[in-house]
Subunit: 429 residues, 2 copies
C-alpha cells in the first residue's frame, strides 16, 4: 500500500474517515485494557510460587550455619550474595543484600549522599546549590523522580543505539554541578538498548569536573533476555572493574533485584560497590538497620542457587513473554508497516518494554484517544525528565501483563490513533 | 549475712580474697557465655517456623484480592495493617507497613526530616545548626546512634519509674533547637519501665519551643509481656489520640514490628502517624519504593490474623522467657540480696532486659572482668548517649538467648565481679 506521505490530500481525508470509523467501533466495544506498567503476569509469578514450600522442612540455616530467623549478618547471607555476584560479574564482597526493592536502595544511596556526602565530596550534596543529574532519555520515570525529589536539576541526554550519547555526556560532565547519571545498561527502560562496551568504557573513564561524580548503574534487566542470551549481545561488562581500571574506582553504584525473576516487590535486591564505597555505605547502613530479611534470602538461595539456575528460570519467563512481544511487533507491522517513515518502534531482545515513536507532536493526543477507547497507556512523556518529551512522540508499551488477545486489541487501537493523528498533522503541513 | 557496709575493713579484705578465689575458679572453666543482645532464642524462633508452609497452597491473594507477588499496594495489605492497628490502638489508615525493620523506618523518617523537613518546619533539619535530641537514659543504644549520626547533640534525660522525668523534659523543650525525643513507652530498653498515663499525657500536651518537635514512639515491646498482660500495667494509651486531643496532632511517629513475635529482622514492621504526617511521608515513600514485601505480610496475616492470635502466640514466648528472667532474679538475690544498698536491679514484667545497677564507678571494670572470665556483656555505658554512663553503674543483661544454666553461671560471675569491685571501692572510701 501507498505510504501516507505519498498520498494526495483527498486520499488522506478518505483514509482518515475510515480510521475514525474503526476507532468508533473500538470505542463501542467498551474495552478496558491496561498497558501502563512493566509488571510480570500472573503466569510468570506462578513460576516461583512454590519457593517457600520446603523452607521449614529444610531448616533455616545458611550454608555458613547462620540462623536466618535471627538478627545479624548485615550484608546478607553469602548464599545469595554469591548468586548476585555471579550475575553481575563481580566479587561477593562487593555485594550488599537489601530488602525487596532495588529502587529503595538507590533512593537510600542518594539520601546518604545528600546528608553525608560521598568519599570525595567537599560537602554533603544537600549543600550543593544548583546540583544537576544526567538523565539519558527516554529513561525510567521513577529514577528521574528520585533525583527531582532530591532537588537536582534533571538534564536530559539523548539515547543512541549504543547507550547515552557519550559526546554529549562528556561535554556535560565538565560542569562541576553535574554529580551523576542514571543508567540502565542492559535492555534500557523503555528502549531496550544494550550499552556498547565502548559506551561503558567512556562512562568509566571520562573526566568529570565533580570529583564525587557517581554512576547509578541499574542493572534491572541483566538476566531478562527474551530472544537472546548472555553469549550474544545481552551481556555488558562489569562496571566496577571498568571504573577501577580507568582510575575511578569509587564512581559506580550498581543495583539489581529479583523482582522480575521471582516476585515483583517481594523478591530480594542488592547493590554492588567497590570496597571504599561499600565501607562508607556500611557505616550508615549499620545505623539504619540491624539486618535485612534473610529468611527471604534463604528461600531465594535454595530456589535459585546459582546463575545457571537463574538463567534456566528466566527461560521460562522468556517463553511466556515472547508471544506477547511478538504480538506487539506483528500488530505494529501490520498496521503501520507501510509508514515506517512516520513511525518507528523498538524490537527489544530483552527487558519489559517496547518503545513506540509516533509522528512528532501526536503522542499526547494518541494516549488520550486510547484512554477514551478503554486502553490505558503510560502517559506520553513519562519516560522523559519532568514528564516532558520535547518531540511529544514517545509512548512506552508494556506487554508483559495482558494476554496476547488484549495486546493485539490495544496495539491495534494505538495504531489507529497513531494513524489518525499523523494524517491530521500531514494535512496541516 | 552482714551487709558489706556493716563489715569492718579486715572482714571485707577476707571476703574479697574468697571472692577472688571464686572468680579464678570461674576463669579456669574457660567458659564462653553471651548476654550481650536482646535476641530471641532458637526455641522462640521455632514457634513460628511453619509460617510459610501453607502459603502457596492457600494462594497469594490478600483479603481484597490483591496478588501479593506483584507490585502495588504501597501502604501494605490491610490484612496486616488491621492487626497492627489493633495492637497499637489506632485506625488502620494510620498504619504503613514497611519491610522487616522498624529501626529502618525510624532512620528513614529522620532522614526525611533532615532533607525535606516536617510539616511545621521553617527549613529542613539539615539546616538547623546545633540541633538537639532528647534521650531518656538508660535507653536503646541504636536509637541514640541514629540521632548522633544525623548530627544531633544528644541530651540525656533521667528515667523515673513512670518514664522520662517529665519535669526535666518540659524544661528542655523550651529550647527551640530540641527537635524531638526517643521513647520506648512499654517495657523500656533496658529498664523495663512502662510509661504512666500521666507521662504520656504530658509528652502529648507539653509546650515545645520547636513547632516541628517530634516524638519517636518505639512501641517495640507492646505485646511482649512476660508476667503480666494488657489488662494489667502493660497497656499504654494510644499516643496518636493523646497528641490529637492535646492539639499537637503531628507530634508523634509510632513504630512496631514482629521481630520478637515471629522472626528477628525477618518479620514485618510498621509505622503509624496521623493523616497529615502520613500524607507527607507517603509523598516521599512513593518515590523511595513501589511497595514493601507483601508476600511476607500475607504469610504473617494468615499466621496471626488478629491481636488475639498475637497475644496467644506471645504467651508461648513468655513461657520460654519466664524461667530465664527468673534465673536472673534468683541468682542476683542469692548473691547480692544482702547488699541491696550497694546494688539494685529491675524485675521487668515484659520486654527483653534486666537492668543491673552496680556500685557507682564499677560497671566498666565488672564488664571487663566478666570478659576475662568468658562472659560477654553489653559494654558498660552502652545504654547512655555517647556510650557514657555518668555513674559507671548500669549494665544491661539480656537473658533471652542463653539456656537457664548458662544464665545462672553468667549472672553468678557478674555478681562475684560486682562484689569484688564494690569492696575495692568501699575499702578506698
Amino acid at each position: 500500500m501507498k505510504s501516507y506521505r505519498e498520498m494526495p490530500a483527498e486520499e488522506l481525508v478518505k483514509e482518515k474517515e475510515q480510521l475514525i470509523a474503526r476507532y468508533e467501533e473500538y470505542k463501542n466495544m467498551a474495552l478496558s485494557l491496561n498497558m501502563t506498567r512493566g509488571v510480570p503476569s500472573t503466569e510468570q509469578l506462578d513460576l516461583a510460587s512454590d519457593m517457600y514450600d520446603d523452607l521449614s522442612s529444610s531448616g533455616f540455616l545458611s550454608e555458613k550455619g547462620q540462623d536466618v530467623r535471627n538478627y545479624g549478618v548485615p550484608c546478607g547471607i553469602d548464599d545469595v550474595r554469591k548468586v548476585f555476584a555471579e550475575i553481575l560479574g563481580t566479587d561477593m564482597e562487593n555485594v550488599f543484600m537489601g530488602n525487596s526493592s532495588s529502587l529503595n536502595q538507590m533512593f537510600d544511596a542518594l539520601m546518604r549522599s545528600m546528608v553525608f556526602g560521598e568519599i570525595e565530596s567537599e560537602k554533603p550534596w544537600y549543600e550543593v546549590e544548583g546540583r544537576k543529574w544526567l538523565c539519558p532519555a527516554p529513561g525510567y520515570d521513577r529514577h528521574f523522580r528520585v533525583t527531582e525529589t532530591l532537588g537536582f536539576e534533571l538534564i536530559a541526554v539523548p539515547m543512541t543505539e549504543n547507550g547515552p550519547d557519550m559526546d554529549v555526556v562528556e561535554e556535560l560532565v565538565k560542569d562541576p554541578k553535574v554529580l551523576g547519571i542514571w543508567c540502565v545498561p542492559c535492555y534500557s527502560n523503555p528502549d531496550g538498548i544494550v550499552y556498547s562496551e565502548d559506551t561503558c568504557r567512556r562512562l568509566a573513564s571520562m573526566k568529570t569536573a565533580a570529583p564525587d561524580f557517581r554512576i547509578m548503574w541499574d542493572n534491572a534487566y541483566v538476566v531478562h533476555h527474551i530472544t537472546e542470551n548472555d553469549s550474544e549481545k545481552g551481556r555488558i561488562p562489569d562496571i566496577l572493574s571498568l571504573c577501577a581500571e580507568a582510575g575511578n574506582p569509587n564512581r559506580p553504584y550498581e543495583f539489581a533485584s529479583s523482582s522480575k525473576v521471582t516476585f515483583a516487590g517481594g523478591g530480594i535486591s542488592c547493590f554492588a560497590a567497590n570496597p571504599d564505597n561499600m565501607a562508607r555505605a556500611k557505616k550508615y547502613l549499620s545505623v539504619q538497620a540491624i539486618c535485612t530479611n534473610k529468611v527471604n534470602q534463604l528461600a531465594h538461595a535454595r530456589y535459585l542457587p546459582d546463575k545457571e539456575a537463574v538463567d534456566e528460570h528466566m527461560k521460562k519467563h522468556a517463553q511466556i513473554l515472547r508471544p506477547k512481544f511478538a504480538a506487539v511487533q506483528d500488530t505494529l507491522n501490520k498496521e503501520l508497516g507501510d509508514n515506517k517513515d512516520l513511525y518507528h518502534w523498538t524490537d527489544p531482545k530483552g527487558g519489559y518494554f517496547v518503545s513506540f515513536y509516533a509522528y512528532p507532536g501526536t503522542a499526547t493526543k494518541i494516549v488520550s484517544m486510547c484512554k477514551d477507547a478503554g486502553v490505558a497507556l503510560t502517559p506520553a512523556g513519562a519516560s522523559f525528565p519532568y514528564g516532558k518529551d520535547p518531540d511529544d512522540s514517545n509512548i512506552r508499551l508494556c506487554p508483559s501483563f495482558p494476554p496476547v488477545e488484549n495486546i493485539i486489541k490495544a496495539v491495534s487501537i494505538l495504531s489507529v490513533c497513531a494513524k489518525i493523528t499523523a494524517i491530521e498533522k500531514l494535512l496541516e503541513e
